[in-house]
Symmetry: C2
Subunit: 135 residues, 2 copies
Amino acid sequence: MSDWQIDTRLVADSVLLAVVDGIEVRAMASAPWPWLILVPRVSGAVELFDLTPAERAALMDLACRLGERLRHEFAANKINIAALGNVVRQLHLHVVARHEGDPGWPGPVWGRTELPLGDAERSERLRRLRAVAGD
Amino acid sequence: MSDWQIDTRLVADSVLLAVVDGIEVRAMASAPWPWLILVPRVSGAVELFDLTPAERAALMDLACRLGERLRHEFAANKINIAALGNVVRQLHLHVVARHEGDPGWPGPVWGRTELPLGDAERSERLRRLRAVAGD
């Protein structure tokens, strides 16, 4: 048993799609960019180096599998994979599909205040991200 | 033998400090944030998933070792580790030490146009980054 609990801000911002090898796969479903976040269920982890090598390899391998699927599903030009955590310290890894000319391109997505997707777009985005996260 | 060549924009922006397991450790020596970039000498690699699992593990393990040293050397509040590549596609991994209240905090460092360090500050920064990158 673990005393791990997800940060409430991650819950507010994202939708749980799957749990793979003890890692939550969550969708930032309202963002203009196709965007997953991966949250290892490891108590107290803040930095990537707080994980064991095996936990880190599992996280990065999952990020790469999902990144490759995201690129295919959304015909992305580039996948951004990042552990920042300046705002929410609980370790979480961003996997974001980028397109030339998307909002903020070629700058980073974090901290931007783009308009969120409308309800119909959000449902469609979530459907496609679920497919990416599925087996 | 490999036909790998480093992107000229990475050369222009950074200083080579060391080569570890076929990975260049370079310093963004003029940036206001303590900042390393790691460039695997792997021809054609753009995404983290273009590496073999062994190459990726070596890269992430190095990023974590250096990230932990950066945190200690600069008493950082958070380490940002990211593979973006929207501008320069050749695979490179950023390892950046962040402090609460540093330029742009808590936003990301990329794409910001902060004043570069002066000559004296740059020399001192480079000396400390060399120590972090050294054995």
